[in-house]
Amino acid sequence: MREGMKGERRVCLLTGAGGRLGSTFCRLYRSEYAIVAVHRHRVPDVPSQHRSWVDPLHPGAGPADDPHAVFAVQADLLEDRQIPRIVELALARFGRIDLLVHAAADTAFLGSMLTHDLRRERMRAQWSLNVEVPIALSAAVARMFWRDRAAENRSRRRNVVHLSSVSGRTVFPGCGQSVYAATKAALEMAGLHMAEELAPIGVRSNVLAPARFPGVVPVECVAERIARFDSSEGTGEVVVMDERGERVVRRKGQSSS
């Protein structure tokens, strides 16, 4: 169990919980973390407050709850008012946030940037979800909870993990992913700057840049790397996971390698 104060589970606020990575993280770590699973349409396929269990031959015995159910929160992250709502719900439910994972992403390849005029709104939406929302949600958590708890944040190793992509570091020609790649490159820089800006309040920030999962990297490995970020002491790191394995390609204060 990932322990926080007095042996309690660490509290993880996870966006994109309905996606492949988010659901996998919930499935693998719900017994170790108290997870606030933020999803838009797809509910993560794990027990939650919306799911209990019934014996069809004895339904009168009442539903059985799962002690490690995630706390599912449905929200459209592109709506500004949802950001503080999510943080309020997480704090109301668990009283704290130890780990913030930005796994929600618009992964669509929107074609050439030269067709911007034809897809302006779509591109803006992708930019908003992939870049602005992680910034806004991190800022909200910092403002509503972390800001005045620097010593506690350090002792509990609180941190933010940003799910970027190798697409933000390498040009893959002919795929039409220029805008998506730009959002991931921006997210990587935002995550590194966030390490600098959250340092005074004792909160770490790191970036994970996997290749396509599950095609190149197993989803479980990406989920496990998130958990390792949480267990570590590092901040301002970019970790790439691809067919060559896993490696730190950037540390705070260093130029990219």
Binding site: H41, R42, V43, P47, H50, R51, S52, W53, V54, D55, P56, L57, P59, G60, P63, A72, Q74
Partner: protein, 275 residues
């Protein structure tokens, strides 16, 4: 056979979003599922008909892109376990429906590339001839009375009106399923939500089941299956109209559209518009 000997999984998930429903995987024992699957495929091997002949899948009503074979006692015996009073009573007990013993439904077959269905609640009336005997269910029988209208087809029949109380979809004879194969049952919180943005999707994994009480909010629909056929068994238990009206109000009960369910042996197609 006792239900405890039929069921493989007695841990059914009660979900509350977007509306109260139950899902379960590995519902039936392997041998029971194998018999049902063999029975389904046997019926499928009889071919597909454009008009109802009582023994083959026939094209459903306009708007529902599927072939349907309504329940009858002439179906393979393997299906008797799901048409038993004990199965009926179990569904009633799980969903909390005061059920009458009346059962409607059938086998559904969607060819690859079948179109999306439409959102609906299933809170609709159904007419039956006769009463269920002790320990038995009363199957809807279009040769005696029209399920949708209550028109007596056979002399001497006194149709009685019921309202659908709960719906069960058992997915079978589909083979392996992966995301992208389609054929899911989509569930919606609101009737005006975008069709392509359901609040939940129940995949047609063999030996899995979706069960829900038919209420004014139980919006669901069939999602197109671009790649593979999609097969299922669909069953409705019923409540009295008085019970439905007292719970939901008269206006919540959705009448059948003209032609949505036809009469057997006529030019109209018999349908069971469902997802």
């Amino acid at each position: 056979m006792e239900l405890s000997q039929i069921l493989s999984n007695r841990r059914w998930a009660l979900e509350t979003r977007p509306f109260r429903h139950f899902t379960a995987r590995d519902v039936l024992r392997t041998d029971v599922l194998a018999q049902l699957t063999a029975g389904f495929r046997e019926v499928l091997s009889r071919g597909l008909a454009q008009r109802w002949d009582g023994r083959r899948f026939c094209r459903s009503a306009s708007g529902y892109d599927a072939f349907v074979l309504p329940f009858s006692r002439s179906m393979p015996r393997a299906f008797d376990v799901l048409l038993s009073r004990s199965w009926h009573d179990m569904l009633a007990s799980v969903t909390g429906v005061s059920a009458t013993g009346d059962v409607d439904g059938g086998l559904h077959h969607h060819l690859p590339g079948s179109a999306d269905g439409w959102r609906h609640t299933d809170l609709s009336p159904g007419w039956f001839a006769g009463e269920a005997g002790d320990g038995e269910v009363s199957l809807s029988d279009g040769r005696k009375c029209d399920y949708a209208t209550g028109r007596a087809v056979k002399r001497g029949v006194l149709p009685k009106e019921r309202v659908r109380g709960a719906a069960m979809i058992l997915y079978l004879a589909n083979g392996p399923w992966t995301p992208g194969d389609g054929g899911e049952t989509a569930l919606y919180l609101r009737p005006d939500a975008p069709f392509d943005q359901p609040d939940a999707l129940v995949p047609p994994v063999d030996n899995s089941m979706l069960l829900f009480e038919c209420t004014p909010h139980s919006y669901h629909a069939f999602r197109r299956n671009p790649k593979k056929p999609r097969n299922s068994l669909i069953l409705w238990i019923h409540r009295t109209r008085e019970d439905a009206v007292s719970r939901f109000g008269e206006r919540s009960i959705v009448p059948w559209r003209r032609g949505q369910r036809g009469e057997p042996g006529t030019s109209k197609e018999r349908a069971a518009g469902h997802a």
